[in-house]
């Protein structure tokens, strides 16, 4: 007997009475979504920057290798998309367009239509996500409603930079992934 058969048979054999699956109601959300989003992101150790601030930062800082899959900042791209993601091990800055943002926790949804390579938002040293104001929703329920059943092989909610508190509960930013997250709200 295969394990699939034995596991399913063991469950069926219990003859459990079906319990109801609840509907998820709508919950009240913040009125000022941009302000709430900004505060949530600060809590996660990310920062909201304006388009001009980002452009100035790029002009002033040393980001030798930049890749933008966001059309708004396409002009800053100065490298080719590698065949293997390891080719981006030295990527300094990635700029990606986000689809939906949840104000309650600053999480932004990105899927394969935004990511030219799945590894980009993780392997880059610094990450910028661009989100349009009208795509900021109140909470995770509304975010999933927006995403709906869209099919993408991979999708991710990113809410801040890579972080850890595994050494005596001291918060350190930049564990394995991006060492900073900046969000541009357009």
């Amino acid at each position: 007997m295969s394990s699939k058969v034995s596991i399913l048979a063991a469950i069926k054999g219990l003859n459990l009475e079906e319990k109801p699956l609840p509907d998820i109601p709508d919950f009240a959300v913040a009125t000022d979504l941009v302000e709430t989003y900004t505060n949530s992101l600060n809590g996660n150790k990310g920062t909201v920057v304006s388009k001009e601030e980002l452009e100035q930062l790029i002009a002033e800082s040393e980001f030798p290798k930049i890749y933008s899959s966001s059309l708004t900042f396409e002009k800053f791209t100065n490298c080719q998309l590698p065949l293997h993601p390891a080719g981006f091990a030295d990527l300094d800055l990635a700029i990606i367009e986000g689809q939906v943002a949840s104000a309650e926790n600053a999480a932004i949804w990105l899927d394969e239509s935004n990511l030219d390579l799945r590894a980009i938002p993780f392997i880059t040293a610094h990450l910028v996500i661009v989100i349009r104001k009208e795509n900021i929703v109140g909470n995770m329920h509304e975010a999933y409603e927006r995403i709906g059943m869209t099919k993408s092989g991979f999708g991710v909610f990113i809410a801040g930079p890579s972080k850890t508190a595994d050494i005596e509960q001291s918060l350190v930013i930049g564990a394995h992934g991006a060492m900073s997250l900046r969000v541009v709200i357009l």
Binding site: I24, A89, N105, H141, V156, I158, A159, I167, G177
Partner: protein, 454 residues
């Protein structure tokens, strides 16, 4: 395995035990602060509990749905009856890929199955990539907490092991410096590994996708750089609908650490072109637990660790004192279902204060199940010393004369008996407890004297 004995070892280092207690309580306070910002918190808990109850009541149906939809997405689904089969499936995939180096992100299931020692025996180098897990892997220790695996260690311990293994400066205990050293070390491993192993936080039946939550981004670094991703999940990790994730992602991180959400919440639905994605569904005793009516809903657990952070016993005895993969209150109701004899002391490692049930995001009645397991264990063990004293007490309380004499005897003898007799090893209740100061007379005598006073 004996919890009180192990706890005694933990408590020998008084300063460290105090730090452990206080640090976990801070995490509990952070949780409180964050949930108070969510007016619908209790409603979310109830929803999560009902969604899990529903899923468990139709687990066979949802498992088949998951397999069907995941397979259609291009995921290779495997079924494992037990830990050995789970390990063999992974061993076989690695053999086919001729792979000797794997990176693994945090997975309590692979701990439960003892995957690392199994693979190491086959000459495979397994690198745990969560920072806390890498630290304890260097020290050859198991995790002492499911969310904060190295919570039992101090900066100086970590500095010492990093000096030895990663050649960091001797005595440098700066967490930023140490984390950066680990980042460089693990990045090399990520770039080399051809196969990445992960756990699963939630699997969605209707879409055939699964979700992994991390703060470090280590799961994503592993799987997106490797050619093959193997994800391992217990069969209870299922939820029916994608929108249910909205409920669970709001609850998980807030309960675990007080964050509003983990920074990376990755949804895997199909492999990247040219890559492979495997999903292993593991039973390992879960269907047995599902069959135990009183303990069934322990399978609702989403592994947030909130019950550990709040538990007065866990905080003061440390994760290792439980001797089981999942420690703390939830571990104490899961482990006896796996091996009643081995884990017989765990349901007693509780004050039954109920704080664990209060903080549980899926409303598992943990403290009531602890009490139920005590009944089961007492039945299985037959009479004990405690049982004997209860019988004795029963005799004393039914006879007024015996009650009167025993009271007088007690007051006289406890004053004169040396501590070595009162706190002897046979008296398990004497351990860690002090007797109250004894009154000079009984209430009965006092009443006789005072009854006629105005």
């Amino acid at each position: 395995m004996n919890h009180p004995e192990n706890a005694t070892v933990f408590l020998k280092d008084v300063a460290r035990a105090k730090w452990h207690d206080e640090t976990l309580w801070i995490v509990r306070e952070k949780r409180d602060a964050t949930i108070h910002q969510i007016p619908e918190w209790e409603e979310l808990r109830e929803l999560a509990s009902q969604i899990k109850d529903h899923t468990l009541s139709k687990l066979d149906f949802y498992l088949e749905e998951l397999e069907k939809n995941a397979t259609a997405n291009g995921i290779k689904v495997h079924w494992a009856e037990n830990a050995a089969e789970h390990n063999q499936i992974i061993g076989k995939i690695l053999e086919e890929k001729n792979c000797k180096d794997v990176v693994k992100s945090k997975s309590i299931l692979t701990e439960e199955c003892h995957l690392n020692p199994f693979l190491e025996e086959q000459g495979i180098d397994v690198v745990d990539t969560d920072l806390g897990e890498r630290i304890i892997q260097f020290l050859k220790q198991p995790p002492s907490h499911i969310v904060m695996p190295a919570i039992h260690l101090k900066k100086s311990d970590i500095s010492a092991i990093f000096h030895e293994r990663l050649h960091t400066e001797k005595g440098n205990i700066d967490p930023v410096y140490l984390t950066h050293a680990a980042r460089l070390h693990l990045r090399e491993k990520f770039l080399q590994a051809k196969v990445a192993i992960t756990g699963v936080n939630f699997a969605v039946a209707e879409t055939g996708e699964f979700v992994i939550c991390t703060n470090e981004g280590n799961a994503d670094m592993g799987v997106h750089l490797a050619d093959t991703h193997i994800a391992c999940m217990g069969i209870e990790k299922l939820i029916p609908r994608r929108k249910d994730l909205g409920v669970f992602l709001r609850l998980l991180a807030r309960s675990a650490t007080g964050q509003s959400i983990t920074n990376y919440n990755s949804h895997f639905r199909s492999p990247s072109p040219g890559k492979e994605l495997h999903l292993i569904l593991v039973n390992n005793g879960r269907t047995k637990q599902l069959g135990r009516e009183k303990f069934r809903n322990s399978l609702k657990c989403i592994r947030c660790g909130a019950c550990m952070n709040t538990c007065p016993i866990y905080r003061r005895s440390g994760g290792f004192s439980y001797g089981s993969t999942v420690p703390g209150p939830i571990g104490s109701i899961l482990s006896p279902g796996i091996d009643l004899k081995k884990y017989s002391t765990l349901p007693f490692a509780s004050t039954l204060c109920g704080s664990c049930s209060d903080v549980c995001p899926v409303k598992i009645n943990i403290h009531e199940q602890l009490y139920e397991w005590r009944q089961e264990i007492t039945k299985a063990q037959g009479s004990s010393l405690k049982g004997l004293s209860m019988k004795l007490a029963d005799g004393i309380f039914t006879s007024p004369l015996a009650y009167k004499i025993s009271g007088q005897l007690m007051r006289a003898s406890l004053k004169t008996l040396p501590d070595s007799i009162i706190y002897n090893p046979l008296n398990v209740w004497g351990k860690g407890r002090n007797l109250p100061e004894l009154p000079t007379e009984s209430f009965k005598d006092w009443y006789k004297k005072n009854r006629n006073r105005a």
